[in-house]
Structures are given as C-alpha cells and as structure tokens.
C-alpha cells in the first residue's frame, strides 16, 4: 500500500520543497548584498546567501533524484 501510494503521488519530494525554500531565501540574501554600506556587511550577506543557495541546490537535486526513482514521499 505504501508503494502504491508513492507511485501514484505526483507531488514534490520533501527535499525538493525545502530546497526551493532555501534557494529563494538565499537569492534574497544575495540580492541584499547591495544594501549594507560596508564591505564586511556585504561579505556577511553574501556568505549567508551563498550557504543557503548551496544547501538549497543540494536538497533540490537529491529530492529530484528520489522523485525520479519513484520515491516521491521518501524523506
């Protein structure tokens, strides 16, 4: 029954969902680099945005791979 439910589910894998969230937040933080007047402020925003983008992309790719292999609900 578990497998039937997973095969029939066309939704996103949980990793894809959280990956999209992190990527969106990371993009906002990278855009926010323009806001602080100091270099250290820009570097801090860029670091935070870069890390969020990186972990978001990893989560998205892993989730996409799981979904492609028919494990849509696998966490």
């Amino acid at each position: 029954m578990e497998n039937q439910r997973s095969k029939g589910d066309k939704g996103l894998n949980p990793l894809q969902v959280i990956g999209i969230f992190w990527i969106a937040l990371g993009i906002i933080m990278v855009i926010a680099v323009y806001a602080p007047p100091t270099v250290v402020g820009k570097v801090a925003n860029l670091t935070a945005g870069g890390i969020l983008l990186a972990i978001g992309l990893i989560a998205l790719l892993k989730g996409t791979r799981k979904r492609a292999s028919g494990r849509a609900e696998d966490i």
């Binding site: 949980p14 969106a24 937040l25 926010a32 250290v40 402020g41 820009k42 801090a44 670091t47 935070a48």
Partner: protein, 503 residues
C-alpha cells in the same frame, strides 16, 4: 525596530514556512502519519528537528544575556548540559522506546510499570507542554512587538495561525520538515553574526584581550561554588546528572522524533547527529553575548538587551532580517513541536487510554487535529496571564520543569535499567519525587539542587518500595528492560545457532 528589506525577509520567512508546512498535509492519511510521521523519518531529519525544537527564543535572548553576564560558562548548558545526556539517550533510552512501539514516553512507562504511572506522567507532561505553548506564544508576541512594532496580540495571532494551521494539517511530518528549514536559517544566521563579530573585535585573541582584564571569569567553563546562578557543584549534579538527562531522555517533544524514525538505526543516528549539531549551538548566542561585552562601551542595564544591541549595532541590513527570522524560527519550531507532542500525549495516553478505546483510526486522527486547534486557542489565551505571573520567560520554564524532571528521570532510568523495579515502586517513587521537588521549590532553593534532590528521593522511594513488593513477571518486561535479552536462554540459543550456521 526593523524595516524595509529586513521586514521583507521576515515576512517572506513567515509566509514560506506556512506554505512549506501546509504542503505536508498530503503525507497524512492515518493517525500514525499524524503523530509519528508514519514512522518514515530519516536520521538527518530527526537530528535537525531535535535541535530545532530544543532551541527556543529564551535560548537566544536569555542565553546571549547570560553569556554577556557570566561568559562561556553559559555554554555548559549546551555542552555539559546536553552532550553526555544525548549520547546516553541515543544508546540506552531511544532503542527501548522505539522497540516498545510506543507513541509517548508515558505509554512506555505504562507498559513497564502500570496504568497509574502512565496517567500521572501523561498529566504532568501534558499540562507542562500546554503551559509551554502559552509561554512560547507570549515570547513570540513580545519579540514581534519589539522588533516589528506589531501589538503583542497580533504577534500571538500570527504565530498561532501560521504554526497552528500547518501543525493541524501536516502533523509530525510538517513539524519535522519545517524544523529542518528553520534550523538551517538559525545556523546560517549565527555563522554570519560570528563573521561580523570576530571582524569587529579582531578575532578570538582580540575578544579575549578586550574582555579578560575586567572580566577574568568570563572564559572559565566552571564558576565558583559561591556563584548565585551557576555554582559548579549544582551544574554537575543538578544540570549534568539530572536536568540534562531528564530533558534529553524523557522529554516527549525531543523523543517523539525518534519514535517516528523509519528504523531503530535512524532513531539512534538521529539523536547522535543532533549531538554533533548541539556542539555548534553556542555559536548562536554565547558568541554574540561576548561580542556585545567587548564592543559596547557602556554596561547594559538589562543583560537581556545584549542580543537586541548586537542586532541594532553590529548587523547590516539583510542579515538583521535573517537573524530576526532565525529568532522566529526558534519560536516556531518550539511551538509546533510542543503542540504536536501535547496533542499526542492527550490523545494517546488520556483520551484513547481512558475514554474511547476502540474507535477507528480516522476517529483518533480527527480528534488529534481538533485537539491541536483547541490547544492553539488555549495557548493564545493563557499566554499573558501565565507568563506575567513569573518574573520572566526563562524562569517560568525552569520553575515548571524542575517540579517533575528529576522524578521522571528516576522512574524511567530504573524502569529501563533495573528489572526488579516494580509497578508500585515506580508509582510511589514518581509521586514522592514530585512532592519533594514541590516542597524544596517552596523553600526558594536553587532549581539545580531541587532537581538533584527530587531525583534522589524518587530513586530511593522506588528502590525501597520495589524491594518490598512482588517482582514483575519476566514476560511483561521482555524488550522493555536492559539486559533481559542477554538472560533469555531461547534468544541466546537462536543467536548461537545463527553463528554456528554462519548466518
């Protein structure tokens, strides 16, 4: 007060968490899906969710303030006060809970001892968790009022609606997955604050040089016995030996994630991975407290203003929004987990156990969802009266916890480690310990010592009464008590034949 881009980041975070939480409604088909995420959680989700649940707003604000006041001794709440107990929990407690197939810690105690122990524990934890929901709501309201300028009632309403709806619909899956995204935001925000802080003070050596001359004790992990809040003896006995193991081995909101693990390995690995993450937590608030002490020219009138000072004076636009989002993440992750755990206890240990035993699975799922909604409303209404009856949020939590954490630990510890502990020993040990902590608490004793002595009393009463009452049958204890498998001749014969057969 934040505004512009920072406010946009905060609102994006709130809306995003809400949408992500709602998405996990599709994963809930049965009551097991709702309460235990269908027992499908992977180790890394469990680990991140445990830490997300553990970090609350009082850790951020109160922890940074305490670090400003006493220094790195505050980090002992994360290191001595967590790491050994988490390893103990992963290797000793979690496997027995998981193998028992229990939904809650009181349910395990009901199997090990008897129904009265289960009910007393469920009422204690169930009531405590409802109080926690109210306290977290208040913390959220105060925070949103301070930084965003919303009235407290609006902050409580937003938190209740956002967290309440996704917890009602998505259950533990939504709770655990939103915890994961929230913890990442907290850690990234903490890392960025550290970069800026170290840049401003001139690295670690600069931090030590600026603080040490006037505050030589700020880089000592243990403070003198005469210290009012952090005496080393109390830290070791009260925190290290009782409060910490009680929190990490018996707290329903912590343990519930491991019960939702897809395997025993995932349950144990989840707790162990949380142990690693826990070592990083002082970065989030101990370092900012020290940065403020090094950089703020005038001493702060209220130590809890340390973190707001850091946000206002240290953080650039953008990062201030992210760090504030991390504050909210800390609250949201604590509220959702506490809510889900409270509902699990009241549904499984009280409603299903005492009132409606043989209803359909869908009935318990509907009841759980309805109860979640009820607790959100109760929490929102209790937020102000409950919290303002104590001096502060942190004190409210500590006072409530010390009443029964020591006795709970003694009861669970003897239950798992000592087959001779009987049902009556468990019951009277628990009640005796709670009575002891209530009496000691009323004398004004430091909560660390209250925890220690209530633990000792519960342990002694349990042992004494067990020795004078009839031992429990071995059949009842199998799988619930440490070492019984080693003494089970049939299991040992099977294992021996497997080895001989080369399996």
């Amino acid at each position: 007060m934040i505004g512009g881009l920072d406010l946009f980041i905060v609102i994006f975070f709130i809306v995003g968490v809400f949408i992500v939480g709602l998405y996990f409604k599709r994963f809930v088909h049965t009551s097991e899906d709702f309460f235990l995420a269908g027992r499908k959680l992977a180790w890394w989700v469990i680990g991140m969710s445990i830490i997300g649940t553990n970090i609350g707003s009082y850790d951020y604000v109160g922890g940074a303030g305490a670090a400003y006041d006493v220094g790195i001794a505050q980090a002992n709440y994360e290191w001595l006060g967590a790491i050994p107990a988490m390893v103990l929990s992963a290797l000793l407690f979690v496997p027995y809970y998981w193998r028992a197939g229990a939904y809650t810690v009181p349910e395990y105690l009901g199997m090990r001892y008897n129904q009265p122990v289960r009910i007393v524990e469920a009422l204690l934890w169930g009531s405590f968790l409802i109080c926690c929901i109210a306290i977290f709501f208040w913390a959220s309201g105060v925070m949103l009022e301070t930084y965003v300028g919303w009235p407290i009632w609006l902050g409580i309403l937003v938190t209740a609606v956002v967290v309440g709806i996704y917890t009602v619909t998505g259950g533990l899956t939504a709770v655990a997955m939103t915890d994961v995204i929230q913890l990442a935001v907290m850690l990234v925000g903490g890392l960025a604050v550290s970069i800026i802080g170290f840049h401003e003070v001139g690295g670690w050596s600069g931090l030590v040089e600026k603080i040490s001359p006037e505050h030589p004790d700020h880089f000592k992990l243990f403070l003198p016995l005469s210290h009012e809040s952090y005496p080393w003896l109390g830290m070791i006995f009260g925190l290290g030996l009782v409060l910490s193991p009680a929190w990490w081995c018996c707290h329903q909101a912590i343990i519930q994630r491991t019960l939702g693990a897809r395997s025993e390995w995932d349950a144990k690995a989840g707790m162990l991975s949380a142990t690693f993450l826990k070592t990083l937590v002082p970065i989030l608030y101990v370092l900012p407290g020290l940065f403020v002490l090094a950089l703020c020219a005038e001493p702060l009138a209220d130590m809890d203003q340390a973190l707001p000072w850091a946000i206002k004076n240290l953080l650039p636009v953008g990062l201030a929004g992210l760090v504030f989002a991390a504050f909210l993440a800390a609250i949201f992750s604590s509220v959702d987990s506490t809510l889900n755990s409270a509902v699990t206890i009241w549904t499984r240990d009280i409603y299903q156990n005492l009132f409606v035993r043989n209803a359909s699975d869908q009935h318990y799922l509907r009841f759980g969802r309805m109860l979640t909604l009820v607790f959100v409303i109760i929490g929102a209404f209790l937020a102000e009266p409950l919290t303002t009856s104590f001096k502060g949020i942190y004190q409210a939590m500590q006072n409530l916890l010390t009443i029964f954490q020591g006795p709970t630990l003694a009861t669970v510890l003897l239950g798992i480690m000592w087959a001779r502990a009987t049902q009556w020993g468990g019951l009277f040990g628990l009640l005796g310990g709670v009575a002891c902590s209530a009496i000691l608490h009323s004398t004004g004793m430091n909560f660390l010592y209250v925890a220690w002595w209530s633990f000792v009393v519960a342990l002694l009463v349990n042992v004494l009464i067990s020795l004078f009452t009839k031992p429990e049958p071995v059949e009842k204890l199998r799988g619930l008590v440490y070492g019984l498998v080693m003494k089970d001749e049939q299991v040992q014969e099977n294992l021996a034949s497997r080895v001989e057969g080369g399996d």
